[in-house]
């Protein structure tokens, strides 16, 4: 059955930090031990190395010197052997014989040798001349040479020449006859007495071996050279010496000539010369007698070497001749050993140390693991318990075990677990409550956002970098930009130059101080058109919130209204000025009337009276009647003028409102009326506390007129009764003046308050018809109304109202109306 891999399986080794404490401790401890021991071993070997190299190199240098001694001994022995042979009388005789056979003329002698040599090289050995030479000169001497070779096996072949280089004896077959053109011959001959020549090892074809040619002059009885004896030394013997010396030790011996050619290599055997050492190595040993060091130049592997030049230490028994010959060879002996084998003991030590290190590391690691296990095991239980905590319904408790610290830890854990469980329960409840609250909040937020998005007012939020972070549809409409052109961009990008506007300054102020602001803003769009907006600016966490209402239309209406108002005010001013002018004229007129019109009337009346008084006896009854009528007419006109003046005065006079007691006023007037006709019996009923708010003197005039009327029209009523009071009439509280006089027909009620309107004849009831007109004007100026209710023969009631606060507008309107 398939089972999902557990986390542990997937993890593998993973991050070392996730390993258990025990593993970490063990590993760290093991690593520490390893590092310390490894460092120790490294330091030991490192400090030993230079010493080892120096010691070994010095030794090899000394060995090389020893090897050279060996070679010198060997070569010295061979030279000595040859010198013994050349001193033999037989040899000397052979040479002398050869020398003696040449013609005296050197030129002829040389020619005879060349001829023989040519014949030797070109002709068969059966040539009679050659045969003769072999038989006579060479083979006959061969026995002597062969004997020598038998006695001294290091020598493999001998050739004896005379003073001109012609072969006089040979131990084997010769390929040529004239040796004077050979290097060994020329060198040995040129060296004179005692000169020894040694060639570099060369491959001897005739012998099939690598050989060294040793040439030594044959000295005559007078000690002068008479010929040359040449021996061929097979190098095998010499190299065997070197091989033996090398194999006894663990080093190699190489022999290198002055040209850098490796003559011998003990590691490779004697028959092969091998590759030459590197130029670098050659340059090291060049020109030096001895030395040592480390190089890769000998065999192209790290080696420790010591070397010694063959000539340099040539002392002791070797004669000068030998030393000079060896110098010419320019050999250098190199003793070396490859580094690896040399340091094998060190490497072994290192290996041992490695093992010790590993074992120690493992042991320490194991110990650390064991110790930490004892600590981590309780911890692990704690961890497991803690892991269960997250899911456990009940609080997790564990047994108190382990050492003191662990026991304390466990107790603390148990306590914490208990607390955690309780806290967790509380948190769960809180989370649940919060979740519900958030759901509710989200719903309402969604509703709010929906409302915000679609509401008529523009709503936008701008962050402190002036970026639009929220705009609703209305903003896009007001701003004449689609929302996606606004969101995420800055105000300055969308409306360049906006930073110079008052609105921007207010936004800035709001951002800085957090103070809300309400303003009406005139906004000029990039296309030049202008819109008016009512803006409410408010700081919000995201930046600044703007609620905007487009009020362009309202602004236009307002402007029109303002213009109309200004127009109206201008007109009112003009009218008022006209009115004032008219009033002034009226005043002047009234003044004239009162003064100028009355004077003639007084004249008419006065002189008519004077006429009656002074000349009455000359007048008959008729004439006296006429004079009475003249005077009556004049007096009546005087009253008319007075009334007219009063009428105009009540309209023009300034008004100052105060609290007026109508009851008091009525009492005063009644007193005057009673005095004017003391005989009349009239009952007055005046309510107390009839208070109103109005101009005192005007109210007195009005009340006087009403009471005088009542007084006048009750003159024929024996039981006259006049009332002053307040009651409800026509649905409102009104003052009244009521009498039980003759009354009037309601048909004429409207005419009653007109100027100069009279319902009764002047004969019956004197009067000018101005009194009620005055009353109406006064009441209207106060913003009130006046009306009458009456019936013929049943008296009349005059009502008037006075608003508590007065009505200035109505007053003004009334004034205008009156002025017109």
């Amino acid at each position: 059955m398939f089972q999902a891999p557990t986390r542990r399986q997937l993890k593998g080794w993973g991050d070392p930090r996730s390993w258990s404490l025990a593993s970490q401790l063990a590993l760290s401890f093991g690593a520490l031990v390893t590092a310390v021991l490894a460092l120790l071993a490294w330091m030991v070997t490192r400090s030993a190395e230079p010493t080892v190299i120096e010691k070994a190199g010095g030794t090899y240098q000394a060995v090389a010197g020893g090897v050279n001694d060996l070679l010198m001994l060997y070569l010295g022995d061979r030279v000595g052997e040859v010198q013994v042979l050349q001193q033999s009388p037989v040899i000397r005789a052979l040479v002398d014989a050869g020398n003696a056979s040449y013609p005296a003329d050197p030129e002829q002698a040389a020619e005879s040798i060349r001829e023989l040599d040519r014949a030797w090289r070109s002709a068969t050995p059966d040539h009679p001349l050659i045969r003769q030479v072999i038989d006579r000169e060479i083979n006959s001497a061969a026995a002597e040479l062969t004997d020598f070779l038998l006695g001294f096996p290091a020598h493999s072949e001998l050739i004896l020449t005379d003073r001109l280089g012609a072969t006089v004896a040979a131990s084997g077959r010769l390929t040529d006859y004239d040796q004077s053109d050979e290097e060994w011959w020329q060198t040995a001959w040129a060296g004179g007495e005692g000169r020894v020549y040694l060639s570099q090892p060369t491959f001897d074809e005739s012998a099939g071996v690598i050989a060294i040619l040793l040439a030594s002059p044959v000295l005559g009885s007078d000690g002068a050279p008479i010929g040359i004896l040449r021996s061929t030394l097979a190098v095998d013997q010499m190299y065997a010496l070197l091989s033996d010396a090398a194999s006894a030790r663990n080093y190699d011996i190489d022999l290198i000539d002055s040209n850098g050619v490796r003559l011998f290599d003990s590691a490779l055997g004697i028959s092969r010369v091998g590759t030459p050492p590197s130029d670098e190595f050659l340059s090291i040993i060049h020109g030096l007698d001895e030395g040592f060091g480390e190089t890769e130049g000998v065999h192209f592997a790290p080696t420790i070497y010591g070397f010694a030049a063959l000539h340099s230490d040539a002392v002791g028994p070797y004669d000068q001749q030998l030393v000079r010959a060896v110098d010419d060879l320019g050999w250098t002996t190199v003793v070396h050993r490859d580094r690896k084998s040399l340091f094998e003991p060190v490497a072994e030590f290192q290996g041992l140390m490695t093992w010790v290190t590993l074992v120690a590391a493992f042991a320490f690691g194991l110990a650390a693991y064991a110790i930490s296990r004892s600590i981590t095991s309780p911890l692990r239980r704690l961890t497991a318990a803690a892991a269960r905590l997250t899911t456990a319904e009940a609080s997790e408790q564990i047994d108190v075990v382990g050492n003191r610290e662990l026991a304390e830890l466990t107790r603390a854990f148990n306590h914490m677990s208990q607390q955690l469980h309780e806290t967790l329960e509380q948190m769960r409840q809180q989370i649940e409550e919060r979740r519900r609250a958030e759901e509710t909040a989200q719903e309402s937020a969604a509703r709010l956002k929906g409302t915000m998005d679609t509401m008529q007012e523009g709503a936008q939020i701008i962050d402190p970098e002036w970026r639009y972070v929220y705009v609703n549809d209305a903003v896009a409409e007001q701003g004449r930009r689609p929302t996606d052109e606004l969101l995420g961009r800055t105000m300055m990008e969308v409306y360049p130059g906006i930073e110079d506007t008052e609105m921007f300054r207010q936004l800035q102020r709001c951002l800085e101080t957090g103070k809300s602001h309400i303003m009406e803003n005139e906004f000029t769009f990039p296309d030049g058109s202008v819109g008016w907006f009512d803006l409410r600016i408010q700081r919000v966490p995201e930046g600044v919130f703007i609620l905007s209402t487009e009020i362009t239309e309202r602004k236009q209406v307002e402007r029109q209204m303002r213009q109309l108002n200004e127009q109206l005010e201008r007109r009112v001013k003009e009218r008022t000025a006209e009115l004032e002018a008219a009033n002034r004229e009226l005043e002047a007129f009234a003044y004239s009337v009162s003064h100028d019109l009355r004077a003639p009337l007084r004249g008419i009346d006065g002189f008519t009276q004077a006429l009656v008084e002074d000349h009455g006896d000359q007048l008959d009854d008729q004439a006296r009647s006429y004079t009475r009528r003249v005077r009556a007419a004049a007096q009546r006109m005087g009253r008319l003028i007075d009334d007219l003046l009063q009428l105009s005065r009540v309209t023009r006079a300034g008004m100052s409102r105060e609290n007026v007691d109508l009851s008091d006023l009525a009492h005063e007037t009644v007193g005057v009326l009673r005095e004017s006709e003391p005989d009349r019996q009239v009952e007055f009923v005046i309510d107390e506390q009839l208070r109103c708010h109005g101009d005192g003197s005007l109210m007195r005039v009005a009340l006087d007129n009403l009471l005088e009327n009542a007084w006048k029209f009750t003159s024929r009523e024996p039981q006259a009764r006049i009332q002053v009071g307040r009651e409800h009439s026509n649905g409102q509280a009104a003052f009244y003046v009521r009498d039980n006089g003759i009354g009037f027909d309601m048909e004429y009620a409207e005419k009653l308050f007109g100027e100069f309107q009279r319902l009764h004849s002047a004969a019956d009831f004197p009067g000018t018809g101005v009194g009620l007109a005055i009353v109406r004007r006064i009441i209207r100026r106060h913003g009130g109304e006046v009306w009458a209710e009456a019936a013929v023969g049943e008296g009349a009631t005059f009502y008037f109202t006075l608003p508590e606060g007065g009505d200035a507008t109505k007053e003004e309107g009334q004034m205008l109306e009156t002025a017109r």
């Binding site: 003044y591 009162s594 003064h595 100028d596 009355r598 004077a599 003639p600 009337l601 007084r602 004249g603 009346d605 006065g606 002189f607 008519t608 009276q609 004077a610 008084e613 005077r631 004049a634 007096q635 006109m637 005087g638 007075d642 003046l645 005065r649």
Partner: protein, 146 residues
């Protein structure tokens, strides 16, 4: 009736005649000086102009003053009188057709001692003149001579 002249300042000949008549009908026989404008009245009072040489210390008992006068009108004349030590205390009764409130106020402000409106009705006029005469010429104690 006591001695003492009456200075009547009146430009209207009808009113002048009627006033004199009223005085006469009331048996007020005091001398009446009539000036027809304010300047003439001041000249009389201060003994200057046409009245040059008149003893200004002889002041009338009362001045009956109309307001509407040619040249110097009544209120102006009153103001000048009150501004001069010789006439500042002289009793002045304004006798005029005007019943304008402003005229009343200004008259009293400038130092008028009484204000009487001339009625149209001659009987009433005569009654008023009688009362004036009784009061100012009989009852009233004039200010001490300057």
């Amino acid at each position: 009736m006591k001695d003492g002249t009456i200075l009547l300042v009146e430009d209207n000949p009808d009113d002048e005649e009627l006033t004199l008549r009223a005085l006469q009908k009331n048996n007020i026989a005091n001398d009446v000086i009539v000036a027809h404008d304010g300047q003439e009245a001041l000249d009389y009072l201060w003994g200057q102009g046409a009245y040059d040489g008149r003893d200004a210390s002889q002041t009338p008992a009362v001045v009956l003053l109309d307001l509407k006068l040619p040249k110097v009108d009544g209120l102006e004349m009153l103001r000048q009188m009150r501004g001069d030590a010789r006439t500042e205390l002289l009793p002045v009764v304004i006798l005029t057709s005007s019943k304008e409130e402003q005229d009343l106020i200004n008259g009293y402000k400038l130092g008028a001692n009484a204000y009487v409106r001339k009625p149209v009705d001659f009987d009433q006029f005569r009654e008023a003149v009688l009362q004036l005469g009784l009061f100012w010429l009989v009852l009233n104690e004039p200010p001490p001579a300057a």
